[in-house]
Symmetry: C2
Subunit: 123 residues, 2 copies
């Protein structure tokens, strides 16, 4: 069975916050077959829900792509601990990718957004 991509956001009780992440995830969900979004806390689906559902569907391997600009305490400590527990609980392999902000595509997209519609003087 192939690998499943999970885009992991922090989560919030604020629905507008989650909607922003759903919009951020949508192009990936459209382009990458089987990919899902999940939340660390405060919103659903949880990471546990998404891994459990994937394991039930036969996936034995997952790649978590954190929708964080940089690695703070959550990505250095909390998420690796969650990953170890989930691997053990669901008998799957989980690869934790670097935070999305470490991919050069994101810095270039920030530039494009600023130049095209956020800035009023692009020098």
């Amino acid at each position: 069975m192939s690998n499943r991509i999970i885009l992991l956001a922090h989560g919030s009780s604020d629905k507008h916050w989650c909607q922003t992440f759903e919009k951020l995830a949508q192009p990936t969900l459209d382009a990458v077959s089987g990919s899902k979004i999940a939340y660390m806390e405060l919103a659903s689906p949880s990471l546990d829900d998404v891994i459990a559902e994937g394991a039930s569907a036969g996936f034995t391997s997952f790649t978590i792509v954190p929708l964080f600009l940089a690695a703070g305490r959550h990505l250095r400590k909390d998420v690796p601990a969650m990953v170890r527990d989930l691997e053990s609980t669901h008998n799957v392999e989980i690869q934790l990718a670097p935070p999305i902000g470490e991919s050069p595509e994101i810095g270039n997209a920030i530039r494009d957004a600023v130049v095209s519609h956020l800035g009023t003087d692009t020098g």
Copy 2:
């Protein structure tokens, strides 16, 4: 005098965290004349430093582009309060742009990063 773009990151005492944001900002700093990076807290230069320096250089108008994926408490409350104080203190106009994650370029860049090098199965 023209408008100055300021990319605003949260800030951290962790140097690796700040380095990630400096890399994220670099394409914009290269492309947009006079643009700067600033931090809300825990790192330098502070937003106050960057506004003060710009005001001294003759800028009377600034656009702050938050390097946040979504608007949480900081962008809904803390940053608008900082902006009001800074406008009054430095006698300048400051426009607060939406968080960078609300720009469609970012969702597309997440997709491109996942498809090109973060995912192991792109369907």
